[in-house]
């Protein structure tokens, strides 16, 4: 039976790859170090598959069709999106999808109450590609992309996302044959294009990071009310972190970091969980 052998969480602020020269030396150094640590753990764990949780950034989905949860189930997925190529400085890459897991999780979900949407044409926008380019730069690790709607309200509830994570864990442990790493891509707060953009809500970021450090999944759920998500901004990814905590249960992270660059629109929160190193 399968195992979750690693959890990772990392930001996808496009400035990380598109404008590194704009960062201070200190921020650049901290980010390099934190991403380097996560990359090292991923390489060391050598999973069969990397499940990537994030929210599509209005690339695949819009108000004409806005799924809450969508699995990429095609044999391969490509990114970044053409619109982002000139800025991101990430070469366009086609990644193999672990379709046994993607389709297995889809069917398991449907049978156990997660009405997943699925796509044969999911484009990997920067929310996927920024952390992937830094954690697996050869892009040779099979992935399963899972979109969790964070940008097109109404969003799924935090309780639903936590339960989703628990069900993903159940699927991996009981129905998948292989070792899985799970990556949550996103920051806690971010109001991209909204009136709060440019003033990072450090207090809210750190409240959630403290709950992450203590593996307080249920408290994260309780805190992530509609009002809190509104405060966290249009591009907050609190639900992505909560889903990952659902996968990991009461496991505390072995590593966390919080890096805040001047003039950034979101701060960078990073974490790693190592289930086999309790």
């Amino acid at each position: 039976m399968g195992k979750v052998i690693l959890g990772l969480a990392a930001p996808h602020n496009p400035n990380i790859t598109s404008r590194p020269e704009k960062m201070s030396h200190e921020v650049q150094s901290k980010l390099d170090s934190a991403f380097g640590y996560l990359k090292g753990r991923l390489s060391e764990a050598s999973p069969d598959c990397l499940l990537v949780l994030t929210s599509d950034h209005v690339t695949n989905f819009f108000y004409n069709n806005a799924p809450m949860f969508c699995l990429g189930v095609s044999d391969t997925c490509t990114g970044p999106a053409p619109k982002e190529l000139s800025e991101l400085r990430i070469p366009r890459a086609t990644l193999k999808v672990d379709t046994a897991m993607a389709k297995g999780l889809l069917h398991f979900g449907i049978e156990s109450g997660i009405d997943f949407s699925y796509s044969q044409e999911m484009i990997l926008d920067h929310a996927f590609m920024v952390p992937l380019s830094l954690l697996t730069p050869h892009m040779d690790l099979p992935i399963v992309p899972l979109h969790i709607n964070g940008m097109l309200p109404p969003r799924p509830t935090a309780a639903r996302c936590y339960r989703l994570g628990q069900q993903i864990g159940e699927y991996i442990r009981n129905h998948y044959n292989g070792n899985v790493a799970v990556l949550a891509s996103g920051s806690f707060t971010g109001d991209i294009g909204g009136p709060k953009m440019g003033s990072i809500d450090t207090a809210l970021d750190l409240e959630f990071l403290d709950l992450v450090k203590d593996a307080k999944g249920q408290e994260m759920v309780n805190k992530a009310t509609t009002e809190t998500l509104e405060r966290a901004g249009v591009a907050n990814e609190i639900l992505i972190w909560i889903t990952l905590q659902g996968v990991l249960g009461d496991l505390r992270p072995s590593f966390t970091d919080y890096i805040c660059g001047k003039d950034w629109s979101t701060a960078a929160a990073l974490a790693a969980w190592q289930p086999n190193v309790r």
């Binding site: 690339t59 053409p82 909204g194 009136p195």
Partner: protein, 83 residues
Amino acid sequence: MSLYQVDKLLFKLFNDLELQEKYRQDFSDVLKRYDLQDSEIKALREVNAGELYRMGVHSFLLWQFGRMMDLKPATYFNQIRGE
């Protein structure tokens, strides 16, 4: 208000580089394809982020539209914050 049509236009512009180019060359021709109110057309033509924001346009898409139209970030924020 045909707000959905404004969001739809901005979504299409955000994701279609050829449409972006057409819009820059002749936005009137592109705007005709959408069922827009006069007030929406005016705000789009003027790149009036404040007006569009107060209409309820999705802020992430609005930010991308502002970038596409070379609206300076300081101007964008002054407009949407009503400063």
